[in-house]
Symmetry: C2
Subunit: 442 residues, 2 copies
């Protein structure tokens, strides 16, 4: 909150947060939007967002003059009217929410959902230079709230839309973007055209937003030759290129950076150079754009959990999982381990509880809490014991998230333990790499 | 398994895996230890470990001659007799197990615990060029079995040993090395000398082992100026340098690579150049070696769990945590989020269950499942709701593992919710960085 003095002054001049004002001090004139006071700022300092997008703080003293120029705009976006250019390809943008479709509320500094895909296309007219872009909203959620039911909706709507489009862009929150991209990879197989998930780390109305560049690069990717479910996000901190990641081999790796998404154990499929509007392919082992029939398969059992193995985990807790879930993915230590030592008096092994889960018909799969690298339960005695009791996933280099989503999808298809194991350890869409490459690490 | 032909031939010649044999083929003579057949190798190819440490595969045909030279040695290590050199400093090696103290069993390819610290010092005589090195075994466990009770033992033994030593090296399995290093960081405060945790990714008797280099670099670190709990492991794949990581800001990030440990959100304290035996400091903000009284504080409540937030997590599962644990650390999505949406019919919010846990006296802290970056529960509505119900950890850039271990340690000291929050969010040993630096990411 601004100081009492400033609050009173604003009130007297009928100035509100978000209004365009002029501040004169020591011969200088500042024109900009009045911003809410940032937490770290002196409450007696007026914060303006200048026209160049930068914020400036002006210390308030008695000789400072303030003038209201324009009340905050309640911008009404015109409904987008697409004039189709027959020479251009068509890309459909389906909105699922997230920061990319959000707005900063100047009063509180809060971010809230605001933009529809139509708004985005309207806001970023450069998109229309690349393709005939059309858009519609599926729903508007922050992605931490996304559920397996939403994955099904996205898959079904994508399957519909892709018939009348040359590529699909899905705007989505970044928090669980990689869970959704994994789910869509299994639900939308044999794709004829690209399906591109994109998000942003800063809301679309902020000058530092990554939304425009991410959208432009996503549309380019949707026009590319990569007929896979992919994630297209900033490749580095600055606005040079985006990476195109396999939807099953990607992960949000930083809470706040724009280049938060990283390919795990593999190279990204491509770089998209922003200024040049060019795709540079880094791999060639993707399905190429072509005429084929999409296989839509949304059968999924969402009753699967992802459990982090750690010192102190309790056997009775592991035992209880059977009450809540039909399948369990463990994020094991190292090569895929859990507590197994029954001799040392301070150890609390959980392997018997895992065995009991499996024997009661609840499949258990292993994944790495190291995030990078391949599960190998043959190196140590611990791992061999786990394989023996039926833990699945040996030699798989999937991420914990992809293993989780895959087990949900597999359990949507069968309850037969043998078949579950067979399906889990089969490589469907590149979720298990054959070879490990040094470039696949940090 | 080797082919039947080879197995019969070995039997006839009384040759067993691990024996020294001679193989003659096409005028060439190969002398080495007979190895078990690697899985990927032709079963009709004899695999020898040559004296230079490399393995060679020799395709078996009728004209190949095989001869037993020497039965497998049951090497008895002489008990180490330390001749103290008064001009040298003294480093104590305390053994806690792990691969660094393991051996390959040639018959099965299995790795099992075998070496005591005395064995290691005996095996790697170069250690004695650096310092007077003495060693003893605390226990011998694979680190996935390590429990908070073991952390206490290590802390207490380290506190004893450090009085008669210039630095401590702890050999430890890599799987949970970073949990232990975090625990020791809280348990051993105000350190006068370095406490260095070290492990290896390949057992000490393999030619490709990283054990010798890691041990040498650890001893150098134990002699250094860094009076902190640190982890010293390979800095890159080749044998060039080790990194010295803060014990609270480090994580195993790959299932199998030697350079698996990475500093999270900070730079490592130092590089240790292997060939040159030199320390290159990368930071200066560590406690320097000096005269001060170690504060040993092993009070800990191990009843804390680490829960991965993911699509599909069930409210009733979250509710059940109160039955098993006295504290909960969440690995939230993005900036520190969980499901909160109560409006969308497909969402399954868990925020009420988290609130109930907190209200029933079970503290809940947030950590990032992205691994890298800082929790910020002020950006989005979701985060602000979590802060409001009392979730701790806002603005903390700790790893999930460090947050887990810290909550265990804090709960060993108080049951008062206000005091718990105060202690959790206070920076004790560098577990919360003040600034975020770009070099702290991948």
């Amino acid at each position: 909150m601004y100081s009492k003095t400033l609050q009173n002054l604003f009130k007297a001049k009928k100035i509100q947060i978000g209004d365009k004002i002029k501040v004169e001090k020591e011969g200088f004139e500042y024109i900009g939007i009045l911003m809410p006071k940032p937490e770290t700022q002196d409450p007696n300092s007026i914060v303006l967002k200048l026209e160049n997008g930068y914020n400036v703080g002006i210390g308030f003293e008695k000789e400072v003059k303030i003038e209201l120029l324009e009340k905050r705009k309640k911008k009404e976006f015109e409904k987008l009217k697409i004039k189709s250019d027959p020479k251009k390809l068509t890309v459909s943008v389906l909105g699922c929410g997230g920061t990319i479709a959000s707005k900063i509320e100047y009063e509180t500094g809060a971010v809230y959902p605001a933009f529809t895909p139509e708004d985005l296309i309207q806001n970023f007219p450069k998109l229309k230079e690349l393709a005939n872009v059309k858009g519609r909203m599926l729903f508007n959620l922050f992605s931490e709230d996304m559920s397996p039911e939403h994955w099904k909706i996205i898959a079904k709507e994508t399957a519909k839309e892709i018939k009348n489009s040359d590529g699909i862009v899905l705007t989505h929150g970044t928090d669980t973007l990689h869970y959704t991209s994994a789910a869509l990879s299994f639900m939308l197989q044999n794709l004829p055209k690209p399906v591109v998930l994109v998000g942003s780390q800063r809301s679309s109305d902020r000058p530092s937003s990554d939304a425009e560049m991410n959208l432009i690069c996503s549309v380019l990717t949707a026009l590319s030759d990569i007929a896979e479910v992919v994630v297209c996000m900033h490749g580095e901190m600055s606005d040079t290129f985006n990476h195109v990641h396999s939807g099953v081999k990607v992960r949000k790796m930083h809470t706040s950076r724009r280049d938060t998404f990283k390919s795990i154990n593999v190279l990204p499929y491509a770089k998209v150079w922003y200024e040049k509007r060019e795709i540079e392919y880094l791999r060639n082992d993707f399905k190429k754009r072509g005429k084929r029939d999409l296989i839509l398969d949304t059968k999924i059992n969402p009753n699967v959990c992802l459990i982090w193995i750690h010192p102190g985990i309790k056997p009775e807790f592991v035992k209880s999982l059977g009450k809540f879930y039909d399948g369990v993915v463990l994020a094991g230590t190292g090569l895929g381990h859990v507590q197994t030592n029954k001799k040392d008096k301070f150890c609390t092994p959980i392997i018997s509880e895992i065995e009991n889960l499996i024997n009661s018909g609840i499949p258990v799969a292993m994944s790495p809490q190291t995030i990078f690298g391949r599960i190998n339960m043959n190196v140590y005695e611990t791992g061999r014991k786990l394989v023996k009791i039926g833990v699945m996933g040996n030699y798989c280099d999937w991420t914990p998230e992809t293993a989780l989503v895959k087990l949900m999808w597999v359990l949507g298809h069968t309850k037969n333990m043998k078949k579950i194991k067979e399906m889990m350890e089969k490589n469907y869409v590149g979720e298990i790499s054959e070879r490990s490459i040094p470039e696949g690490f940090i």
